[in-house]
């Protein structure tokens, strides 16, 4: 034994210490207002992170074009969650304690949304959720947690309305085995029972590639519609293989997450099997409820030279607009004042006029549900088929 080499420990201690001191320092009273955004930039839903980045760009262009907030320029710190709760918590840890952001928005996984809302509420930092659908997030009735995006209950009631309107009698319910999948499955099961629609349920893996086993069970059941709650590439394989085994186009597939049906590789992966597939979305070119939505669309096309691929970029745009408005109205960066301002929010965003529920005791507390659309791919064109007031066509069945 040559004795402990203290040199090393000293080096670690000093190096670590210096690292903390030298870290590009963030001035708290700087001339910018920082807003925290969290979203999956890596991992299996990294596509959503890319969409978020686009929405952030547009929102910053908009607000800084107007001269910023409280006389300062606005800046966004976009932290990665990787779609993993721990990373989400770590991201909030950094945003709140290092970047000292007054408010955080974003996220798209239920699990991450739930974890972050615990953390944000603990730090008394307002958090506006864009795309985590789990009911639990708002039904906990946390003071600092808001959601300006779909919640499972809202989505399911929309889907059931549509099923009833079309008169479907027999459904297969396929759900991924995650919180979102299991949560939405539970709600759908209850709603289907209430609506007197006969159904079977099947669990699947989000990124599973081979669905023949599940599909043969569905074949045997012979449903009119298959409700697939799978938020991942798995659903592409599912759609393609459903066609191979002859399940579609006899039965209609409804994809209940939305973005997977709009991902750029959708048609490459599913081929003609994608025709007549239905999915849920909160955005469509033809269904622009107001000027803000139209501006968003035009600016997007102008900036990126293409149409938005899915609605996630608009979701983050939406919550950022709400956040800007709240800071302006509160005229402060204080958490409690921001909560007050958010509760009174009536700003117009692309999905309509924001109005957060303030009555405690249900999922609707601090919840703003943007209207959802049901869209069908008809000859590779999106046709809005529900609700009727914005529909551009009718459901086509074989």
């Amino acid at each position: 034994m040559k004795g402990i080499r203290y040199g090393w420990i000293l080096l670690i201690a000093v190096a670590f210490f210096t690292a903390t001191i030298c870290y590009p320092s963030i001035s708290i009273s700087a001339d910018t207002i920082k807003i925290g955004v969290v979203g999956p930039r890596t991992g299996s839903a990294a596509a959503t992170g890319t969409a978020f980045a686009e929405g952030i760009d547009l929102a910053l262009d908009y607000i800084n074009g107007k001269g910023g907030l409280l006389g300062k320029k606005v800046e966004v710190v976009f932290e990665d969650t990787g779609g993993v709760p721990e990373k989400g918590v770590a991201a909030v840890e950094k945003l709140v304690n290092r970047d000292k952001v007054p408010l955080v928005v974003g996220t798209s996984h239920s699990s991450v949304g739930i974890a972050i809302s615990e953390q944000a509420n603990r730090y008394k930092t307002p958090f506006i959720i864009a795309e985590s659908w789990a009911d639990e997030i708002t039904s906990k009735n946390y003071k600092y947690i808001f959601r300006a995006g779909p919640c499972n209950t809202g989505v399911v009631s929309e889907i059931i309305k549509w099923l009833k309107a079309e008169g479907f009698k027999k459904a297969s319910l396929v759900a991924e085995n995650t919180d979102w999948g299991l949560g939405i499955k539970k709600l759908t099961v209850e709603a289907l029972k209430e609506a007197n629609i006969e159904f079977q349920t099947i669990d699947t893996e989000r990124n599973s590639k081979d669905h023949y086993t599940e599909l043969s069970k569905i074949m045997k059941y012979d449903p009119e519609i298959i409700l697939a709650f799978v938020y991942g590439f798995g659903v592409h394989y599912f759609i393609a293989q459903a066609n191979e085994v002859g399940l579609t186009p006899k039965a209609i597939i409804f994809e209940g997450a939305g973005p997977p049906s709009l991902w750029p590789q959708f048609w490459e992966n599913v081929g003609d099997a994608g025709n007549l597939e239905c999915f849920i979305s909160s955005m469509h070119k033809s269904a622009q409820p107001n000027q803000v939505a139209k501006d968003y669309w035009d600016n997007y096309v102008k900036k990126f030279g293409k149409e938005p691929s899915d609605y996630k970029s608009r979701s983050i745009y939406r919550v950022l607009l709400i956040a800007f408005d709240a800071i302006e109205k509160a005229n402060s960066l204080d958490g409690d004042k921001l909560v007050d301002a958010l509760e009174k929010s009536n700003v117009t965003v692309p999905s309509g006029q924001v109005n957060f529920g303030t009555e405690k005791g249900s999922v609707w507390y601090h919840q703003f549900q943007p209207p959802m659309l049901i869209i069908q791919w008809q000859d590779r064109q999106q046709t809005v088929i529900f609700p009727e007031n914005v529909a551009t066509g009718k459901l086509i069945r074989e």
């Binding site: 299996s44 596509a47 893996e205 045997k220 590439f233 191979e244 003609d272």
Partner: protein, 288 residues
């Protein structure tokens, strides 16, 4: 016994053959070099990406895209062997660690270059076949499965019948003697590592139309390959085929009759059973 049962069985066999092909390259390398190639799955997906780019982006017919993709992976394999594996000879653990790190690097590289979306080369054939009037089965799957069988046969012939095959079998049985007999073992290593990677590439090319590649898809391929390796016995090619079939069939029936959420776990359970009953694997040479 009903049509569902035959459907599960057919799918199990098809998936089994596909799994066997996915594991073949890794098994070959272990048998000859005693090196586990953790980056196996990543080479598989790279081949898938190359064939995707060639056929979709550059519009090259898949008859050309396939050999180009396989050849590229062969060359990449040789480069990996020469630059990273060679210095670790004699230290199995280090080669394991290096290829593990390499697999993480390649995954993240793929994520950066190709993005997170799945990429799918066009189907070779469309439609589905009615199997014995019982159920419909995708044509592309059947064709890919036939191609997989073809590749497996070619690999077997290469190893059992050719001069190169004899050489690598000699090296895998007794490296020292082989080298005394004038065989350049480091060249054999290089070529057989390249060959193992090329088989991974071939698997990627054949399977990408059914299972589009994503940056992380390789992990699953590697895991299945490793399970088959242990079940079948390290370095045994027949073990690889039988192990693949067992996993394919068990997964298919397990998902059907037990739980599809636990689909991936059935393979692991078999692995543990095999370790209990016959630790050297079904076709393994008995360990010392």
């Amino acid at each position: 016994m009903n049509s569902l049962f035959f459907m599960y069985l057919t799918n199990g066999i098809v998936m089994g053959i596909i799994f066997a092909l996915s594991a073949l390259g890794v098994s070959l390398i272990v048998g000859i070099m005693n090196v586990i190639n953790f980056a196996h799955g990543e080479l598989y997906i790279f081949a898938g990406y190359i064939s995707y780019i060639l056929s979709v982006k550059l519009g090259i017919s898949f008859y050309f895209a396939i050999p180009i993709a396989i050849l590229t992976i062969f060359i990449i394999g040789i480069l990996i062997e020469e630059s990273l594996i060679k210095p670790t000879y004699g230290n199995d653990m280090y080669s394991l660690i290096i290829t593990f790190i390499l697999s993480i690097v390649l995954q993240n590289f793929a994520l950066l270059v190709f993005g997170p979306f799945p990429n799918k080369p066009p189907n070779w054939i469309s439609g589905a076949t009615n199997m014995f009037g019982l159920f419909r089965y995708g044509n592309q799957r059947l064709v890919s499965c036939l191609a997989a069988i073809g590749i497996i046969i070619i690999v077997f012939l290469l190893i059992k019948k050719t001069w190169f095959g004899k050489t690598i079998r000699a090296v895998s049985q007794d490296r020292e003697t082989a080298s005394l007999m004038g065989i350049d073992t480091s060249k054999v290593n290089m070529l057989s590592f390249g060959l193992g990677c090329a088989i991974a590439g071939a698997a990627g090319v054949v399977l990408a139309p059914i299972f589009p590649v994503t940056p992380l898809a390789g992990v699953e391929i590697s895991l299945i390959a490793f399970i088959i390796l242990v079940i079948g016995g390290m370095g045994s090619l027949w073990g690889c085929i039988i192990g693949g079939l067992i996993i394919g069939i068990v997964q298919s029936f397990g998902a059907a009759y037990i739980s599809s959420g636990y689909k991936d776990i059935f393979g692991f359970i078999i692995l543990i059973l095999v370790l209990f009953i016959r630790p050297s694997g079904l076709f393994g040479r008995k360990a010392l």
